[in-house]
Symmetry: C2
Subunit: 224 residues, 2 copies
DNA sequence: GCAAAAGTGTTCGGCGTACACCCATGC
DNA sequence: GCATGGGTGTACGCCGAACACTTTTGC
């Protein structure tokens, strides 16, 4: 493609690979205090019966990002969420002669907004990260890279906006952070730190639930 | 490739793209206090006469990383340096019908160890980052992403090992950091911070140059 | 009035930053 | 002895971490 590809290709065409390119989308959510990932059960070879990260080819006229957006929408029905490129894996599919390249993306979705695709085969299902089923190819590795990236993103971006409804309580927000980081956080420090970032803004609303003091509701500042 | 690609491909084969996949290698070095990048002058269309990031196709039996290593060696003669995947660009080459995907890598090399490829065409040349020539495609964007990543890597890894000879003085190391970060650093704070990391170790040697106190030599701890 | 979760302040240690002088050498 | 770069120490502000009690509500 760019640079000197063309001459090289012409003179060495029998030597160069024409790998197939697929887009993979690692879709995370947090449900009941647990970080979960969306997987699909493979109903045909290769790796039939194993679970895998949703993915597919890039359609004509589509950019990679559009393909990732489409895949995400096909599986979950949601759009307009956190989605960014993760890493490109060159050795995921051990196909015989031709290589393959998988461009992995990762997405964060609010579980309540999701309507999982209701196919009979290749049906998607949420899995807790600490109880994954046997995975096809090297998909453990992909999920691992995604989780590491997510942990880092959480430290310095407002990526969590995509895991929560428009308004939420401090406790709900903290539970999302704890699920991702995998450790408990101090309530007072958490509150202070988050408010210091300007990621979130207090609304004038409260939520009453149960016989105790109502909780103030917050929203993410960037999402009006 | 992974997941449900295969069935999808079969039923929609006329719809799916078979993009060409290329590897791009953004090669950085620091010379005389300036961060430089290796570019190649395109001697044939498209973008003839413009400069571009070195790159090329993946050969048969090669992984992407091996292709990147090979490309780096072809242009500079060096191996065994810092090299890591950067980002995958889907829209670099505006080819007519078929899409193309460029998997960009970035590498750090010590300029003194480099022997640039001596071709008559597609000749490589170092360019200072603040005086780049007109670039083919969107290569400015790629370089920009690489520079940002390099700045980040420098903060929390020993990536600089690849930009310096085996032993070096504190001043030399600091100049590399300053070139990459684009700002002067305080000598005392720099020394203290670097020694605190354990990235580098003092050797018992010194280097005398000029009529002043000799400088202690250091080496990176991981490279025996 | 009591159970239950919401909400709040202070202390401390580490780290990055600012800043100026003495040291070893060659000529 | 002086010019040249090498090498060192202190003070301060910020931030993350630890830690316990009061407030508001429903019943």
């Amino acid at each position: 493609m760019t640079t000197e590809t063309i001459p090289v290709r012409k003179s060495e065409s029998s030597e160069t690979r024409r790998p197939s390119v697929a887009v993979l989308v690692v879709i995370f959510t947090v449900v009941e205090g647990a970080l979960q990932v969306l997987l699909i059960e493979r109903s045909a070879p290769p790796a039939e019966g194993q679970w895998a990260i949703p993915g597919g080819a890039i359609l004509h006229g589509e950019t990679m990002e559009q393909a990732a957006v489409r895949k995400l929408a096909e599986e979950t029905g949601v759009t307009d969420v956190f989605l960014e490129q993760l890493y490109t894996f060159g050795d995921l599919d051990p196909s015989p002669t031709e290589g393959s390249v998988g461009v992995a993306w990762f997405a964060l979705v609010e579980s309540a907004a999701v309507r999982l695709a209701q196919r009979t085969a290749w049906r998607p299902k949420w899995w807790s990260l600490d109880q994954l089923p046997p995975l096809a190819f090297d998909n453990e590795q992909v999920i691992d890279v995604a989780r590491t990236r997510l942990i880092n993103k959480l430290q310095y971006t407002d990526a969590a906006y995509s895991l929560l409804p428009t308004t939420f309580t401090m406790r709900e927000l903290q539970e999302v952070y704890e699920a991702i980081l995998g450790r408990p956080l101090d309530k007072r420090n958490f509150r202070r730190r988050l408010l210091a970032t300007d990621f979130i803004t207090a609304t004038s609303e409260q939520r009453k639930e149960g016989r105790h003091r109502p909780a103030r509701l917050y929203r993410f500042s960037n999402r009006s």
